[in-house]
Assembly symmetry: C2
Homo-oligomer: 118 residues x 2
């Protein structure tokens, strides 16, 4: 989900910040798995949205949003997701850090809806 349609329920809800460095190889299966995991996440109870950016140097930040901590835990233990996690450690990621957070406040700005700026 892009910020054009941000997940924006009232806090509190949960965010999982996944920061990674990967050593990209052509046809290493990463893109297909990433797409599949995004689709699968969207089917899970409590899924609110996902934002993901990776730059040319291989640094990526993906944030997924969830209604409850139980939803975060359930997604972490999903069988197909567990296989993807294992492949990630074996094949794709040099390093990653995963942080589970409780979103306490949020503020959105959009030039189009607020108007009045030069």
């Amino acid at each position: 989900m892009s910020p054009a349609e941000p997940p924006d329920p009232s806090p509190p809800y949960y965010a999982v910040i996944f920061t990674s460095i990967r050593d990209a190889q052509p046809d290493d299966g990463y893109a297909a798995m990433a797409t599949r995991m995004e689709e699968l996440a969207q089917e899970q109870p409590g899924f609110l949205g996902l934002e993901s950016v990776r730059d040319a140097d291989g640094l990526g930040i993906t944030v997924s949003y969830w209604a409850t901590e139980d939803a975060v835990l359930a997604w972490g233990r999903h069988a197909e997701h567990l296989i993807a996690q294992q492949l990630g450690r074996e094949r794709w990621y040099e390093r990653y850090t995963l942080r589970v957070c409780r979103v306490e406040r949020r503020h959105t700005f959009s030039r189009n809806t607020t108007g009045g700026f030069p």
Copy 2:
């Protein structure tokens, strides 16, 4: 700070997730301001680290980490930062969402230090 040196104190601490879309223009002053804000943030009490990625489409995610919620609030009200925020709304950002979160758990993987993978 890159994930090669992740901010990694024991939770709880705070994360500010700033997701933005910007309409990049050459010489619009954004890069200089972003660098200055990163330097300034590092001088603030309670600053733990910062990770930032922007892709070729203009979608960016920046996450800054702070020891306490008070440190987050103080940075949000810093005079020079307030000017940058105003310029951001006027000049640089089409849209952004800022979320203040309490980091409750974190897990780090590094292929080099865990070893044993193919």
